[in-house]
Amino acid sequence: MALVARADANAFEVVYDRHCGAAYGLAFRVLGAQGPAEDACQEAFMSVWRAASRYDARLGSVRSWVLSVTHNRAIDQLRRVTRHTDRQVYDDTAAERMPAAEETEGTALRRVGAEETRGLLATLSSEQRRVVELSIYSGFSHGEIAEALGIPLGTVKSRMRLALEKLRSSMTAQPA
């Protein structure tokens, strides 16, 4: 990253090759369509290139930083395309109940993506899992989630914090 910060395009290409799959996978998980996901991915990597001098290894790995930038871009794009009042609260379980023949590519890939992330979220209660997925993968704010689910804002915040604590505990408890 030090080389990228000095505008070394070859070094940046290595960063791109190493992280583009994870970045695009995340963007697709959020946006559910190839075109918007590729746009978000492209914007994210251009941000990484231009802000390389701001990368701080003390805050996390390059992968984490790239994914954070990608996530921001994907959520920005999601919010640009849809007004929050029009966005449906995506229901992972509804997609699973849908016969395969009726699935669009978007819902199918989202279903697969949801299954993979559900493995990570298995330690959470269903209520905690819901608020985490709605925020991190669908870009809803805590206020929007409270309104959509008809629960108090404080409850949403509490579930978010407890969910992260539980995830952290389960990560540190995993055998090496």
């Binding site: 991915c41 914007e43 990597f45 001098s53 701001r54 493995g119 990570l120 991190i136 509490s158």
Partner: protein, 243 residues
């Protein structure tokens, strides 16, 4: 060590997940700068968020994405290399030597950066001419950022299909109760306010559509204003671009 304000402790989970509203995000950002306890808590929870971001299965994007990214990266690397070269061909202008000018023209490009902007524009125009579809291809210009207001800032304006879009990185947060506001300008006229106001994420990044037809202006400017917006700029632009 515990945080003295329980409101922020409650907000921290939403902050880490990126689920705060704009006002709460600004308040949390300010609070984190001053509260070691909350910074410590944030650092504890960040790996969980990183794991959530890394959880979706990796999928390779199309080769066109890499081609587009690397084309722009190599072009900017070339321009940056030219901009950093000793600039003996353009002696310091009278303006930059201290002659006072109108506030809105005070951001005089450094000669090398002006060359870089010119090359970028020329490249974009050349691409349009060679491509044979002069008005369909996007053009992008590098914005001039005030190093005093945004030491690590960079920005560009892309015009595509008569619409302009601003992409910024490395900008400082505009401050509590404030937002960046986008202005447009034609020639030497006064800047006209737009409805586009934005704040930035933790990396100082933002992407915002410039309202209106891009044919109606030739400059895009950004200033920090009260969150509700202003009818006239109240301070010097943090960045400006000639499109």
């Amino acid at each position: 060590m515990t945080c003295t304000d329980p409101r922020f402790a409650e907000e921290l989970g939403a902050w880490v997940l990126g689920a705060c509203g704009p006002a709460e995000a600004d308040a949390m950002r300010e609070h984190l700068a001053a509260c070691a306890s909350c910074r410590e808590q944030e650092a504890r929870l960040r790996p969980a968020r990183d794991a959530l971001l890394a959880a979706p299965r990796p999928v390779m994007p199309s080769a066109a994405v890499k081609a587009a990214v690397m084309r722009d990266v190599r072009r900017e690397a070339q321009l940056l290399g030219a901009a950093r070269a000793p600039d003996r061909a353009h002696p310091t202008s009278a303006r930059s030597a201290g002659r006072r000018g109108p506030r809105w023209t005070s951001l005089v490009p450094r000669p090398a950066l002006a060359l870089a902007c010119s090359l970028l524009l020329a490249g974009a125009v050349g691409a349009m001419v060679v491509g044979g579809a002069p008005f369909d291809r996007p053009t992008a210009v590098v914005a001039e950022v005030d190093p005093a207001l945004a030491p690590r800032g960079s920005a560009r304006v892309e015009v595509r299909g008569g619409r302009a879009r601003l992409e910024a990185d490395g900008l400082p947060a505009p401050g509590r109760g404030r937002a960046y506001q986008v202005w447009v300008r034609s020639g030497q006229g006064a800047p006209r306010p737009t409805t586009a106001r934005f704040t930035v994420d933790a990396l100082g990044s933002a992407t915002v559509e410039v309202p209106g037809d891009a044919d109606g202006f030739d400059q895009v400017l950004v200033t920090s204003e009260p969150a509700a917006g202003s009818q006239r700029p109240t301070c010097a632009p943090v960045l400006q671009a000639t499109v």
